[in-house]
């Protein structure tokens, strides 16, 4: 549920309940005021009649045009407290009114010629009730109006209000530490969004700085390792010239050679990854991919023949704009993987179309874990490599927005590169 919807909901609930409570209080307040007004009128009337009786010693004449209904009932009560109450108003304009309490009455004790009478004066409440009705209707209309206005404002105004937020969110989604595009401001005058933008900007620049430092470190560390590695290699090259070495020594030396070689390859791969991610790979050129693929299969011919691998190719013409150096590495890694992890007398299928490049090979009978496959330092149990080959492949594909994927199709390990992912 969207924040605006949450906000809307509570807003509406609170507004409506406040309005309802207000309306109830309003109703009672008006009722009370009107009642007091009526009671004051009644008191006035009563005093008038009492003073009339006091001066004339007789009951006033009942007049029809008077909007009041006065009655006297003889009583033997000598003590009576004046009371006000709701009572039916018999002179109601609406003759068919069945409301028993459409009037307000006062009852008091009067003395006429030594006799006690209970005097009751009833006046109509209809006009005041009408007033209450009008007030209630207006309140209701106001409530509905407010409700609608709130709803519309929330829908349209909040959409505009949240614009900078969604703009920022969109940029955050596209954020990548290795990217160099900066966040752009949406120039809002909402303080919170400005603050958020500033915070995001600060965070992104800090993250990027950390990432750059880390990359710099990798690069420097790898570079610094190259010199000691060359010292080891050259020492070994000198050492093996010694005639007094026996086969057991040679075996040990060969192992050191192997390890040193692996280390320097690992270093070079790391440097390459850093370089690809830093976009430091030289110029791009128009390359005939079909030629490149053919050259590669030629280059790996020896390895292919030695493992008795059957290669089938389906290559269409295709040109791409890319760095020759990178594509060379890309195909080297894919080809050598397909051969290295192949079985004796296995099969390799290579296909190049306008949409993509596909290389399939026989090998282990179990599919590889696609999610981890392109991660760094992840390698098969029998692999001699450093586990960076496919990470490099993925990095190179990322540079050109190509999509590389792995699948296991009818016992064939399949690597596919799509040149224009999303279009197919």
């Amino acid at each position: 549920m969207k924040l605006s919807a949450h906000y809307n909901r509570s807003n509406i609930i609170i507004t409506v309940s406040v309005l309802l409570v207000g309306a109830v209080i309003y109703y009672f307040a008006i009722n009370y005021i009107i009642q007091r007004q009526l009671d004051r009128d009644l008191t006035e009337e009563m005093e008038e009649i009492v003073s009339y009786i006091g001066s004339r010693h007789k009951f006033p004449v009942q007049l029809d045009i008077d909007q009041e209904d006065v009655s006297f009932n003889e009583t033997n009560q000598s003590n009576f407290k004046t009371v006000y109450f709701n009572a039916p108003f018999r002179k109601s304009i609406k003759k068919d009114s069945d409301d028993d309490n459409n009037g307000r009455a006062v009852e008091t004790l009067v003395h006429v010629n030594g006799k006690s009478y209970l005097m009751t004066i009833v006046i109509s409440r209809e006009s005041t009730e009408y007033l209450v009705q009008v007030i209630a209707t207006i309140t209701l209309i106001l409530m509905v109006g407010l409700f609608l206005v709130l709803l519309l404002t929330n829908r349209y105004v909040s959409h505009d209000l949240w614009k900078p937020f969604f703009y920022l969110l969109q940029q955050l989604k596209a954020f990548s530490v290795s990217d160099h595009t900066n966040f752009s401001y949406s120039k809002t005058n909402v303080d919170e969004f400005n603050e958020l933008e500033a915070a995001v900007l600060l965070m992104s620049s800090r993250v990027r700085k950390d990432y750059r430092t880390l990359k710099q470190f990798t690069e420097n560390a790898s570079h610094e390792m190259m010199t000691p590695l060359s010292v080891i290699t050259s020492k070994l090259d000198i050492l093996i010239q010694d005639d007094s070495l026996n086969p057991e020594h040679y075996k040990q030396l060969q192992d050191i050679y192997g390890a040193t070689n692996k280390l320097s390859r690992l270093n070079q791969s790391l440097l390459l990854l850093v370089k690809i991610e830093n976009n430091l790979i030289g110029e791009t050129e128009l390359l005939e991919l079909d030629q490149l693929v053919l050259e590669k299969s030629e280059q790996f011919q020896e390895l292919i023949t030695s493992k008795h691998i059957t290669v089938t190719t389906a290559i269409a013409q295709k040109t791409v704009t890319a760095s020759g150096q990178l594509l060379d590495i890309l195909f080297n890694n894919l080809f050598s993987n397909a051969i290295r992890h192949n079985i004796d007398s296995g099969v390799i299928n290579i296909s190049l179309t306008d949409e993509g490049f596909l290389i399939q090979n026989t090998g282990s009978l179990h599919p590889l874990n696609e999610e981890e496959l392109f991660e760094r330092f992840l390698k098969g149990k029998n692999s001699e490599g450093a586990g960076l080959g496919l990470a490099i492949v993925k990095s190179i594909c990322n540079v050109y927005n190509w999509e590389v994927s792995y699948s296991f199709i009818s016992s064939l390990h399949t690597f596919q590169i799509l040149f224009a992912p999303g279009k197919v």
Binding site: L229, S230, I232, Y250, L253, G258, N261, G282, E302
Partner: protein, 225 residues
Amino acid sequence: MKILIVEDEQNLRENITTYLNSDGNVCESSADLGNAIEKLEDYAYDCVLLDLGLPDGEGFKVLNFLKEQRRDEAVLIISAKNGLEDKIKGLNTGADDYLIKPFHLAELKARIEAVFRRKAANSNNNLVFNEITINLQGRTVEINGNPIILTRKEYDMLLYFIANKGKVISKNAIATHLWGDEMDMNDNFYFLYTHIKNLRKKMLDADCTDYLKSIYGIGYKFLSE
């Protein structure tokens, strides 16, 4: 051959000197840029091995110095930087070759010889070793005057061996020379055996002395006699 080694890492400098000296070369060395330029001002060399990352500046200054002085020393850059830009910059500034660290000394020796041969521009483009005559331009090989047909890899290997004659060369060094960095042959020397076996057989068939000796477990040696 008179060689100047400009390299700040002492161990490496000494190893290169040891390896190259044993073949009758004279090596001198500099640990920094200033010393290297001083030496070059005073003496002439056949070849300069130049590290790019020196304590007092980039090795490119040496290249510029040689270019300004119109000197004809062959220059081989040895650098830890595996960047295409540095390579292109180096070669454009007058370097003859570019070798990336770490490298095998055998590879360095072969490169120096190749660079030197190119620079020397012999009217006679033949490399002669006892009964073996290699026509460098035509990439053909004659043994006792009889041509033998070698594949490209066998030819490369023969040149490599002759450049490092009398030295034990590790399998790793040969594999790296033949297949370069792109193919990791470390776990599989089978192809190397095949190529060496074929080369040896072709040479023996042409009544050549058996120069190629296998050094058990580590590599091969091309006898110098």
